[in-house]
């Protein structure tokens, strides 16, 4: 890491003029907090020069309020009271910087997630008042800081060689960033290699995968590490270090195909890497494109595992391929004519507590997998068009053919005389062996809502389960990279709209179905978005880190060395001999680039001579003082009010 540059010396002498800006959040806050009353209270707080409100502080007019006050010299410190700081702290810091202020003379009061969404009435207004007052207490003592600037490697590691990883890698490399693509199997292609014709356009999956993979393998800016996995991870944005090791047993069967050739269901075989063994990758950003896993039904779920005639939709797609040679008659699978088949939707998706059984780990897939309706209908159309003697029944809960061209597939299915039956979540169809002599090995019984609850029995030769998408098996990466995971167990972006492909960990991006179920088109959109975000981060050649590191007040330091002993990152603080007032003395000195900012040194200094910039002990004390103070509002004297969760 390069030595950070610190531009300006803190200007502590200037008198604090705090501007307080309180957000209504379009009712999210103001429905529970009397925002105008809070503003009135803030006007009485020492050090507060102006207090204003706005319907949306994050909007341009909201930010302009702050910027205008800064430009007019009315304020030199800013407190914004709004949503969680993870959403808009950077928005407001940036507005301050644009108006010529110091972005670190800013404090955030979280009055949405931690007040209006959890408290109500007078109690909410009072708590918001105290929290904002506390923020002003801290803001008054904030000194100007400059971000730590560190060199960023113009290099990206993409984890996952499916369509998302390939799309992201190509976009990154085409924009001049060197890319290492790490894929745990020996193939490039991922989930799309297990498909044949992509809905709704009918694009050939093999052609798509082959085209992308060849471009990847020929691209001088991309190195592919196939059959390898990330085993260690460290560093920070701009300067990550990843250990990559071969996955034991991950090699293609000998003679299966030639490097660069396409294997249906697997993808394009990557030529063996010359380095072979474990390697270390030094990179500026990481793009996660780890994909999804297909839901595997429980034994006995719709007869799965107990009847050979019950298969999953991904298995059926691979078995029938492009329906070559099956024209004009009855579909034949494994030598068996399929005169009648049932496709059951929502298997392993939209599971409901109390109705569906949890998996071995206690998980339910409560999410909609989004792609299975279209995939099932696409398959039904293909079969009906190629094999008109095969009857197809679709048993569904709701049809969600949501994207461009997908509703047309649904309409086409009606034209193709696919028969639809609708079941309730608590009335799942029952798959049983067919009656002897019925001529069909299975029968499906369903209470059909489309015929007003009539119980229908369908004799079938095949039952196909439209299984959903589950989070991929990435527990090791989640642990290693400290990745946030949503309630649905997919990787969780910082914000679905404001930062849709970013994580709270700077420099790590999400691409594709590791984040949520998506179809191939959406996956490519997400991957390109991640690539562009990554490139824009690396484009300056450096990244700026928050300057929240320890700093020694050499006037107070007596050189006890307690901080050096307490430091959790050896080398970040050292005792040095320096000249003060013409005398050589021993004092502590911090190397900002190595300081973690944890504050272990702060607690042990007997002279209070070391602090974390932006998070000083005195600032915490000031916040506590304001929280206990009755200056902005009197304690109301317990009036309990029970509120439902």
């Amino acid at each position: 890491m390069s030595e950070p540059q610190r531009a300006k010396a803190p200007d502590a002498g200037e008198q604090a003029k705090v501007g307080v800006y309180i957000c209504y959040c379009g009712g999210n806050i103001s429905d529970h907090v009397d925002v105008e009353k809070v503003r009135e209270r803030m006007e009485t707080v020492p050090g507060v020069a102006v207090a204003r409100t706005n319907m949306f502080m994050c909007s341009d007019p909201g930010q302009e309020l702050i910027m205008e006050d800064l430009r007019q010299g009315r304020i030199n410190r800013v407190v914004v009271a709004s949503c969680a700081p993870s959403l808009h702290e950077s928005t407001f810091r940036s507005a301050i910087a644009r108006a010529g202020g110091n972005p670190y003379q800013y404090e955030h009061a979280n009055i949405r997630e931690q007040v209006s969404w959890v408290h109500h009435g007078q109690a909410a207004t009072d708590k918001a008042s105290r929290l904002i007052a506390a923020a002003t207490g801290k803001a008054r003592t904030l000194t100007p800081l400059e971000p730590l600037r560190v060199t960023a490697r113009r290099h990206a590691v993409v984890i996952g060689g499916g369509i998302a990883g390939m799309r992201a890698a190509l976009d990154l490399a085409d924009m001049g960033v060197r890319v290492a693509l790490v894929e745990k199997t020996p193939y490039l292609g991922g989930g799309v290699s297990r498909l044949v014709r992509l809905a709704p356009t009918g694009e050939d999956a093999a052609h798509l995968v082959t085209t992308l993979a060849r471009r990847i393998l020929e691209h001088p800016g991309i190195t592919v590490h196939a059959g390898s996995a990330v085993t260690t991870f460290g560093g920070y944005v701009g300067n990550f270090t990843l250990g990559v090791s071969p996955v034991p047993g991950a090699c293609a069967p000998a003679g299966e195909t030639w490097p660069g050739g396409y294997v249906p269901g697997k993808g394009v075989l990557v030529p063996p890497s010359p380095d072979g063994g474990a390697i270390t990758l030094e990179t500026g950003v990481v793009v996660l494109a780890t994909g999804f896993a297909s839901y595997i039904p429980r034994p006995g779920e719709y007869g799965f595992g107990e009847n050979a005639e019950v298969v999953t939709l991904p298995d059926l797609i691979q078995k029938i391929g492009g329906l070559e040679g099956q024209r004009g008659g009855t579909l034949v699978i494994d030598g068996r004519p399929i005169r009648s088949m049932a496709l059951i939707h929502c298997v392993g998706s939209r599971q409901i507590p109390g109705i569906h059984e949890e998996d071995a780990n206690g998980h339910l897939n409560e999410h909609c997998s989004r792609v299975c309706c279209t995939s099932a209908i696409n398959t039904a159309n293909a079969i009906r068009e190629a094999c008109p003697q095969t009857s197809v029944y679709e048993l569904y809960r709701d049809i969600r053919t949501y994207g461009r061209g997908q509703e047309e597939l649904y309409a086409k299915a009606s034209g193709n005389r696919v028969v639809f039956m609708r079941f309730g979540a608590d009335q799942a169809p029952v798959v049983q062996r067919g009656a002897p002599g019925s001529g069909h090995p299975l029968k499906v019984t369903v209470t059909d809502q489309l015929t007003f609850g009539e119980e229908l029995e369908v004799p079938v030769d095949l039952v196909v389960l439209a299984t959903g998408m589950e989070p991929g098996p990435v527990a090791d990466l989640v642990e290693m990279l400290k990745l946030p995971v949503g309630a649905d167990r997919f990787l969780l972006e910082t914000h679905p709209k404001l930062r849709p492909v970013e994580l709270p960990i700077a420099g790590i991006f999400l691409a594709g179905t590791c984040q949520a179920p998506m179809d191939a088109g959406e996956t490519c959109n997400a991957a390109s978005a991640a690539a562009v975000k990554a490139v824009s981060l690396l484009s300056k050649g450096y990244v700026e880190l928050d300057p929240f590191v320890a700093e020694v007040d050499v006037r107070r330091c007596t050189g006890t060395g307690a901080c050096v002993q307490a430091c959790l990152n050896p080398g970040a603080i050292a005792l040095e001999t320096m000249d003060i007032d013409g005398r050589p003395v021993t004092r502590a000195r911090v190397t900002p680039a190595l300081c973690l900012g944890c504050g272990a040194c702060v607690a042990v200094c007997p002279e209070n001579a070391i602090d974390i910039n932006g998070w000083t002990l005195a600032q915490y004390e000031a916040m506590v003082d304001m929280i206990v103070s009755d200056a902005v509002c009197q304690d109301s004297g317990a009036v309990p009010e029970t509120v439902g969760a």
Partner: protein, 140 residues
């Protein structure tokens, strides 16, 4: 869930919540709109190892009724910080005893970014303790 109390000076509870775990955990409780008593004030910290013994005692002197240190536990991004702080807390407990403070007023726990239930449990338990130790001021 929980009750909203007009906080009295004695029953304010401070949560020292780590920025990488418990603070987003508190936000997650908010996103779930799960209510808890309004006498709870969350302060974001990088690592609670920053606070010396005196900070805790001063808080109690100022009238804070209870403090929950919501750390990252084993997920702590600063290796060694959790251990160093746990050791410091032993000394804080000793000092609390010397000053006649009930040590249940200070609690160390680990809260993850989605540990809503654990967060609410901790907050409610500390509320019970604080109310038991200093009964709410009677409404006029």
């Amino acid at each position: 869930m929980g009750s909203q109390t007009g906080a009295t000076a004695q029953d304010k509870i401070l949560l020292l919540a780590t920025e990488s775990c418990a603070y987003p955990g508190a936000d997650s409780v908010g996103q779930a709109h799960a209510s808890y008593p309004a006498n709870v004030y969350v302060l974001k910290v990088k690592a609670p190892v920053l606070f010396p013994e005196k900070f805790y005692l001063d808080c109690f002197r100022k009238g804070i009724g209870g403090i929950i240190i919501m750390s990252c536990g084993e997920e702590c991004p600063y290796e060694g910080a959790y251990k160093a702080m746990a050791k410091r807390l032993d000394r804080v407990y000793e000092l609390m005893k010397e000053e006649g403070l009930d040590i249940r007023r200070l609690r160390l726990t680990a809260i993850c970014t989605v540990c809503n239930r654990a967060f609410l449990n901790e907050v409610n338990q500390m509320n019970q303790i604080v109310h038991e130790l200093s009964p709410p001021v009677q409404a006029p």
